[in-house]
Amino acid sequence: MLFPAEGPQVARFQKPAEGTWTEHHPELGTDFVSFEDSISPAFYEREREAIFQRAWLNVGRVEQLPRNGSYFTKQLPGASIIVSRDLDGRIRAFHNVCRHRGNKLVWDGTPRGETRGNARQFVCKYHGWRYGLDGACTYVHQQDQFFDLRREELGLASVHCDTWAGFVFVNLAREPQQSLRSYLGTMVGALEGYPFDRMTERYSFRAVNASNWKVFSDAFQEYYHVPPLHTHQLGPTPEARNPEYTFEAAHYQLDGPHRMVTTSGTHKHQWPKEHLYPSEALTRSGSTGPWDAPDLGGKLAGVNPSGIARWGIDNFQVFPNLEILIYERGWYVTYHYWPTSHNTHVFEGDLYFVPARSARERLAHEYAAITFKEYGLQDCGTLDGTQMGLEQRAFGEFPLNDQEILVRHFHKTVGDWVAAHAREREGAPAR
């Protein structure tokens, strides 16, 4: 979706001693890969349990809970949750279900939608039971009609919740196998000091896509597709807009279930004006964001881990379904892919900027946000077709090149988690 920060001149980068990124990780192999995991309803059921009931899932940012009493709801695969900041300021998460008769507790307009707001308590619409922001049941209507009911034992079902770098995570397991920090590992964990907290101007996008969640994620784990699919993104001139233009990312890194890719290249703001669209030159902005970066101080934590020259974008894929894209120009984007069935998902894209101080800065942000949607629609449209093609089962396995190493790692990780969970359920020792 996003322009790889490359100019018409192609850079080539130092690869691992094995000669390719993929062969540096022999466990990945170089064979053709099956995408049966993206078209099988049965696999989806296993994946939902093995991954979405056990992994740490990012559900938002602390800025979405600005005050004590702030809350929002979030539909996860198989569970709606409430995330709230209680009256002591602690962030908590609960199953969004009333303890009385199982009604969905917090909703507005329709129980199928999301809501957010500020409250001192949650009141069930059905029979009026009330809960504090700490989940405790505070009122049972006509309690004397029940049988030995102990109200203090009837709070909401807690969901494990923790924050890291301002990102709020939950885990639906009864007992998560790892703490959030241990789960995130060293590569993602190194971003802890990045000034996410200064980038509070937010644009949010949502799309309902007719593809498996992994199929959409796959597109944003490689830049191989950018010149052919997003030809227009490269510029208005034939020199810039060359669908046969080749691209290589500067660096790939794997860490447990997580992965990242770094791009390098000539920044758009350094391009000759004739290779720019008029509105790019007007707004000094575009697909790599506003050209005039905010002053974020000195060295930024965790970014450009390999120290690549002419660093462009870091794309961190936090397993299972969060991506954090950090741009050299001092802004960031997150993607989330929330499966809703084996061949549908909800995609969320959020753009975060240091708040604009002027109309000119705001228009630079606006143009970046417009650009995000324009090229994102190309991905959404195309991936609809990918799902259709995969479901045809004309081929069982597919070739992946070295620039698609993260796709290979992602599907292997998903398969490993599903297999490990199956072994655990059978009582065999987990690997």
Binding site: E201, R202, Y203, S204, F205, R206, A207, V208, N209, L229, H232, P236, Y277, P278, S279, L282, T283, F347, G349, P355, A356, R357, S358, A359, R360, R362, L363, H365, E366, Y367, A369, I370, T371, K373, E374, G376, L377, Q378, C380, G381, T382, D384, G385
Partner: protein, 111 residues
Amino acid sequence: MSEAVLPPQFAELERWAATWCLATEPERWAQRQHSSMQELQAFYDACFPRAEEAIAWCDRFPLDAMPADAERLFQLLHSLLLVSYAVEVWRQPEVIHAGSAQIDRILEPRP
């Protein structure tokens, strides 16, 4: 003739105000999708040459305290940027290869 809504020095853009002074991206997006390429091109051709000057005008005021006429001009600039994709990039109102896909902007900074 309805009352002027833009700053007086941008009077020549007044004829576009009723259609394109829209406060939110969903409204602007719908307007682009419902417009013909001729209409989009005409709006772009009229506004783009004045855009730098219009940005400079809006920039004279704090973002959260623009006079009403500057705010309308600011909205017109937002529409111009959205329309620019149809004119400069796709040369049609719809995104190439988007198929039936939709992406909704559900939150945006205001002001």
